[in-house]
């Protein structure tokens, strides 16, 4: 399901969004809206954002991703960011942007495996 360029798949109570396109500012913002709408519509408890396809993440996109995670959390959904490329990670930390508060995993499988742990600790708190 998607109105924008980034497809959002549903796997049980989890949403999987795979970003393959070059992210312009407007595309990133549209993505954020699409994701939140999808969470509301499907009542998903988990969100995995796969950025294996991104060869560049600047502060704008980094902020969108971090904010999306926070917004999803307010709606009761845990988010895991997966597949960041080495050069993207290096660039972000060099800029001083370490995306604190965002959960990360190596790939989609690991992300899906991490969600239950995050969700159970959320339930306890």
């Amino acid at each position: 399901m998607h109105t924008g360029q980034i497809p959002i798949l549903r796997i049980g109570t989890t949403l999987l969004a795979s970003i393959q396109v070059e992210l312009r500012d407007t595309t990133a913002q549209a993505f954020q809206e699409d994701v939140l709408k999808a969470i509301e519509k499907t009542r998903s408890r988990g969100l995995v954002i796969d950025i294996t396809g991104l060869d560049m993440v600047d502060t704008f996109v980094a902020r969108i991703l971090t904010d999306t995670g926070r917004m999803a959390k307010l709606m009761g959904t845990e988010t895991v960011l997966v597949g960041m490329r080495p050069e993207v990670a290096a660039t972000l930390v060099r800029m001083g942007f370490s995306m604190q508060g965002v959960h990360t995993a190596l790939n989609v499988d690991e992300g899906l495996a991490l969600l239950p742990l995050l969700q159970s600790s959320q339930a306890r708190s």
């Binding site: 500012d25 560049m56 704008f60 290096a90 060099r94 800029m95």
Partner: protein, 138 residues
Amino acid sequence: MAARVLSTQEIKITSEDEVVLVRRAVRALAERRGFDSFASAALTTAVTELGRNIWVHARSGLVIIEELEDGPRPGVRVEFRDQGPGIPDIGWAMAGGNSTSSSLGLGLSGTKRLVDEFQIQSEAGRGTSVRITKWKRF
């Protein structure tokens, strides 16, 4: 010895589309001159940040992309010029920015760490000029 300019490209910024063009042009240049993926990502990110600043804060500007050579060493230099509001206190902006213009502040100081040379000139009401250079690492 001063660096030699091998080629120049000018791109006028009037919309978000041109920022994307700048990014693609710089990435293509870095790849052509054999920059490694880390250096290329750093450079591409830096120009996207600075190009966006023009678009967001000044709405129009000019980007000049130069292919350099210092002896055998390739480099890329990009200059960003706009006639926007300018930055009244560069030191303050570069020191990590503030909450309202946090995008500008973090963008500038963070961008500086991604490149080898960083020069900025700005005056309130007179516009801004930022020039960055990145050399290929041996």
